[in-house]
Symmetry: C2
């Protein structure tokens, strides 16, 4: 986990009057030491790898705090579990494309969509708070060659 990220998180805890505990430290460490998305359950497993006493309840109680701090993004990609995305710190405006062939999630960032959505919102008489663009799509490469190389997101 980067020092800058750690600083921002503990600053947030301090400001909010939240206490520092071994369990929270472990969850925070687990939450921001990868760049991939994870479920609450996966975060529990990772956290327990650092501090075995972490319980499921504490993970579920800590996640909303991190989301509220703006450091972690809760993603609802249409599955039955929420996903958590630690990459919003560095790319606060990215969107998601979900491959319907292999479930891969591709993150992309597009200034034009962002601007366009702001305009539309304003035109309707609102001020944007949260915007989410979710594109489900099929892989062209798979269609062509029959195999789907896990290409990396091209726009981040």
């Amino acid at each position: 986990m980067e020092a800058a990220v750690r600083d921002r998180i503990y600053e947030f805890l301090l400001e909010s009057g939240l206490r520092r505990t071994a369990q929270r430290d472990a969850i925070i460490e687990a939450a921001f030491s990868h760049t991939d998305h994870y479920t609450a359950e996966e975060l529990l497993v990772r956290s327990r790898g650092i501090e075995p006493s972490v319980s499921r309840a504490t993970v579920y109680r800590t996640l909303p705090l991190l989301v509220e701090s703006g450091l972690l993004k809760e993603l609802d990609l249409g599955k039955d579990q929420m996903l958590y995305d630690p990459n919003y710190i560095e790319h606060p405006r990215h969107s998601h494309l979900i491959c319907i062939d292999c479930n891969r999630i591709v993150e992309f960032e597009d200034r034009n969509i962002d601007t366009l959505e702001n305009c539309i919102t304003k035109r309707l008489g609102f001020s944007p708070a949260t915007k989410q663009t979710r594109i489900e799509a099929s892989c062209d490469e798979l269609k062509r060659s029959g195999a789907c190389a896990h290409r990396v997101a091209q726009d981040l």
Copy 2:
């Protein structure tokens, strides 16, 4: 419910080899006789108003059929229940803005967003299947006047 919609639905049932039952008729009638969004539970109540024998299980078993037919759109707007939107027949590309002040859902349609999302998807090497844009926003009128007149969507 419009005759054209009814025709398309029963054509779909026929093509799929699905049987026509009193319960399905009632659910279909209830599903397409309003333009507002509804939950499975609300649809159950409406369906029972037409045919009292409709059970919750049958509603939950019928909804995926209607969604699969393309006549009904399943919306995941971040609540704990799915919402169903019968307006996709007439406006297949509309998006949703959710007012964080009053929970009102405003439907809007924007050709530019549509085009832009198609381009991005192609550029990433995919072909778009489902696209969902969800904007959560606060009401400017509420901020100004302290009251939030339920303005009608301006773009449909």
